[in-house]
Amino acid sequence: MKALLIGATRGMGRSLARLMVERGDQLFLLGRDESALEVTAADLTARGASGSVGAACCDLESPSGFEAALDAAWAGLEGVDTVVVTAGLFGTQESLEADAVLRQRVLSVNFANTVEFCEQVRTRLLADGGGTLCVFSSVAGDRARKKVVLYGAAKAGLSSYLEGVDLRYREAGLRTVLIKPGFVRTNMTAALDEPPFAVGPDEAARAVLRAIDRGASVAYVPPVWRLVMLIIRSLPTWVLRRTDF
């Protein structure tokens, strides 16, 4: 597998990159922090990556840089068959309501800019005859809840986009894998209270890799969240108004 990962310097993306290296996949990393990319590439190399691990700067906050970054990745790997997008921003509902700048960033990065990134990847993969596009959305996009109104809205948009791409292009050879993590213990969630079924990033990454290999169009991580969200989606509105999760 020749895989391009954006957001692999931390959390689930980092765990996923390590699993892929362990089984011999070739990797190219995109991220916004150059020194973090260097440290991550060195880590993956020391873990026995096959070939050198290339890296280039790419910030989901500035779509003007996407093309150059993707050029670098396609050149570095001599063609890409799998793209994994784990990058994203998080803010609690309170912080997003209070801070217009943060709100704008979270909404554009998690929805508009990620979609733009995926569009450019889609064109390239289809031009090469197909491939896999794996994108991390969230269970927060499945149903509006008091605690994740804004974050959830952006993720709902992203999930819907991915579903659409799957309907439209799977036949042409583009497999989309939409990952919906429940609660994964990473730095992003470290300030939050831990709900049941929380898993570590390594365990989550194993589930993600299984989904990529299977070509599942939607994967909940861990899988029990499919059931949890089925229940939450079926709750009547008046229940959600009265609960606080």
């Binding site: 310097t9 931390r10 362990e22 973090a36 440290v39 991550t40 060195a42 880590d43 190399t45 020391a46 873990r47 026995g48 730095n187 992003m188 470290a190 300030a191 365990e203």
Partner: protein, 442 residues
Amino acid sequence: MTVEGQRGALSGWGRHPVVVARHRRSENLEAITRGATLSRGLGRSYGDASLPGTIDGTLAVTTAADRLCWFDAERGIVRAEAGVSLATLNRVFWPRGWSVPSSPGTQQVTLGGMVAADVHGKSHHSEGCFGEHVRAVRMRVADERILEVSEDEEPELFRATLGGMGLTGHLLEVEFQLRPLPSGWVLAESQGYGDLESTVEALRSAGSEWPHTLAWIDLLAGGSAFGRGVVERGRRADPGEAPSRLPAPRFPPAVPFVFPLISGTTMRLANIARYWSRRLYRRGIVHPDAFFYPLDVVGWLNRLYPRAGFTQYQVVLPTSAGVEGCRRVFDIMVQRGAVPLLCVLKDFGGEGKGMLSFPKAGLSIAVDLPITDRTQVAVDAMNDFVAGVGGRVYLAKDTLTRPEHFRAMEPRLPAWQAVRRHWDPEARIRSALSVRLFGDPT
């Protein structure tokens, strides 16, 4: 991303004591150790060694900093961040024909913790403590400078840091030597012995032939069966005698919440089963996790221990104390009403270069004791005896030792304290353990 100033209840592996502490966690160790009162890894020390010594102190939790910096495949040398776990190192390096030397009984420890406690394992008599294989560390000292420290650069600080319980500075990176591995598997033998004397004798003689040895002792059996044991000995299997495939990584299920299954009664039965199932000589190829990491048989094994928590009393008695000394410790323990749930013995090789490292030549005794209102009295009485015969206690396991006992056991303490004072005159880096034993201010 750094998570700032979270407060939460924390404890060591023994779940006693529990303190509320502020901690921060990030992959950027340089950022989180700035101004921090102590670094903490996976929290596998049993007592208060990983807990902050001051109420308003902030812990730097290192586990997100788990990257390898580089690996020299020719010489088998690796440098990694302090938060990387031994489990990760094993998973990365076993398939490539290298192993981490001096592995302790759990792989859920960080590299930083392995240096700070200068850990040892079943192989102590053959390869010493982990510190013997450490080439250099990168650390932040109390005045906030970041230094490269080794036998060549600041050698005193280097030796004070090996086994220094994290009190000489925050470990950021560790560089160490790996050992070539003939195969991923282990050839193990076990055999039971009916009394303490013959078990200890068998343990000692196994050490001359086998690189990994350990004895498990039944202290819950009554009468003449008290002290019977099973000796385990092993070595890495040669390629010819091991399966050609690699041992598959294991992901044991975790105990989800505190469920006190382990008690004197259940362990009495477990001990009987263990003794009778291993009494006869057995030899075979086993999975390395099964041989090296009995504490990882399930995740969060400590949640099966009694609700009030537990401690492990681990001491080394010098060779001169003999098996009589060992029996004396057991007698005091039982007379004072402590319940020895689990006991392992290990014969140690010589003292290493860590200024405060625990092991020295003699017999190591490790006993899991539930925390009850009698445990302190029992530990005091045992410490009286151990200090008298020239033994000492292992700080990574300790919860209850008193400062006067520790001073009596550790003639090396003043020299170590002088080095620590040189680098940290105000004891800015301190733990609940250093407050308890070394008189640091709270």
